[in-house]
Subunit: 404 residues, 2 copies
Amino acid sequence: MALSPLAPAAFPELPVVDGVTFAAGAAGVRYKGRTDVMLAILAPGSAVAGVFTRSATRSAPVLDCQAKIGGDPSGPAAILVNSGNSNAFTGRNGVEAVEALTTAVEQVTGVAKARVFTASTGVIGEPLPYDRITAKLSELSDGQSAEKIADAARAIMTTDTFPKGAAATVDVNGKPVRIAGIAKGSGMIAPDMATMLVYIFTDGLIEQGALQSLLSGINDRTFNCITVDSDTSTSDSLIMGATGASGIDVTGSDDFAQALHGIMLDLAHQVVRDGEGATKFVTISVTGAADDADARKVAMAIANSPLVKTAIAGQDANWGRVVMAVGKSGAAADRDKLSIRFGDITVAENGWRAPNYSEDAASAYMKNPELTIGVDLGLGDGQCTVWTCDLTHGYIDINADYRS
Amino acid sequence: MALSPLAPAAFPELPVVDGVTFAAGAAGVRYKGRTDVMLAILAPGSAVAGVFTRSATRSAPVLDCQAKIGGDPSGPAAILVNSGNSNAFTGRNGVEAVEALTTAVEQVTGVAKARVFTASTGVIGEPLPYDRITAKLSELSDGQSAEKIADAARAIMTTDTFPKGAAATVDVNGKPVRIAGIAKGSGMIAPDMATMLVYIFTDGLIEQGALQSLLSGINDRTFNCITVDSDTSTSDSLIMGATGASGIDVTGSDDFAQALHGIMLDLAHQVVRDGEGATKFVTISVTGAADDADARKVAMAIANSPLVKTAIAGQDANWGRVVMAVGKSGAAADRDKLSIRFGDITVAENGWRAPNYSEDAASAYMKNPELTIGVDLGLGDGQCTVWTCDLTHGYIDINADYRS
């Protein structure tokens, strides 16, 4: 698979986060010649928060994680993730697999089963050969290192063309707190509550309830604002662990919240940049809606429209399709108050083409790899920004025969 | 544009419907070397019913038609349609264009402006050069013939690869009543209230209110049950004219309603068969939902899923993506009661892969040009059937540079 043309120049330098260690291995669940499993271990007392897909057909590991979030944090915690098989819609076998994996982690690492969070990502509906993973647990336990987070990011990739990471060191009351996160995701991306697989770690000190509230709020403005193809995964999971190893209380810190927001937005953007077949990174900014919910409807209708996305792929300034998407969104809209901008160019306003509209200028703008489509509905103060990519032949190539 | 591989063998023989005549011409609105405008004239007293898009950005001709449906039926009526430009999001110019066209039809044909229904289909947002159409009205008026309905069907095509028609002669109380319809549509197909452009004519006798009620009801089970790409047009219009020329009262006739349903379903299926880039005609049949509304949500979530549609294009029996679509639909669903069939093959049941599942059998089935995906939710009596096509490189080819 060729590297996405929108990929960052390099995987970022991620700082060591005190209190968490990682290891990755090659269990051969589905892929050959690469790592496909990662194990992270968090220090006793770590707060663990999570946000998960709301899919009615969510996977066995998602259900298990949801049941465990918020439990007694006194012991250590572990996160075990495999790629190549999602253990979704695998019935009794799926539940057995989670039970077997979490039991084996407890036996090998001493982390209580109730604090072992698993995730699986890949093909849906095939029984997970979990024995291949349990066979690797001793190796993963022995190999734990605070410096292997990049290996973990690589092990969880599926159709991703690059590993995804982001980090910050933030001063809280004059002392440094570290946050580092990794993510995977490329297709089946239209998060509803959470998205893809994302793991974020900090050595800041914060209680589970406060961490959960912070994480859910930022999630609504980051991962829940991206879409590649309007399809929502059965495995979406975002888990954050706060080890408290720095001894610095970050509860209520605006600086911490802002840094965390930056990391989550960065990871969310990286998922869009690695959207299957993507050649354009597109920001859809909607203002002037009756309320924020309507703005979101309009932004997502544009971001998910196959006709808007193919026009962008063809570098065609076909703003009429943006009008179409506004019209079908279900949000309150008045044709004659609507205005549309491509970058800084106003292409339509007051119910028709802008008086100074230049097809040449609009077409030239569309050649940029990063585009902004601005829509003002002229009705109220509601606003929403979402991020998406274009729909290309590459998407069809990747998905017309994903399983073989 | 190559003919869709799913096209019918030939355009059907459409019977003459007493009381309505047609003519088509080449106005050069956008296309060269083909007809692009059609005028139909209906006898005095004809009942005219219509169903239109609910898009918030619907076109000037749609708004004009909606205002006129249900008006005084004593005089004759006319339908004027052009292709190549949709006169949508054209502001004041759009209203002027409709005014100029309907006034010109009144002057040339004597049909009162209040009974002239216009429609435009094609690119959104470009001012309609309506003078090119008015210049052709004398020719279209002089050329009226009861036998030119096929010419009318060809003149309204845009990205369609074949003209669409369907007809029936139905016995009502032992006497023959004729119904004939034409349609256009290929992309931007996810009707919400009506769809594309469809014109149906009958010589049956029925009052406007009864005709409207019949048409709206059948529309919900035909055109509102198809989707090509989830994008809803700004121009969707379905108009039916009943001339009454047969003198046979069809009000309340089950035979008439059934024949009309057959024609509307046939035309709806033809639109899917001509879906942009389509190589597969797919029936999605959902049963066992909590109610019909939930069944529709599930059926449309499957029919609009890019991942399901690309798997079908690749002839990949990837039923896990059907599970995903059920999960994201928002309908009540219980993973462990869900069963999925591809044709007669049960691929999944009771929350996982069917015990006798054979990848070879499922893959062989996927090679058929016509496929049925059956989903039973195991919860209640709700059901819905919708029709769609696959998502292929052809769709990207057509839409990545539609305007040039």
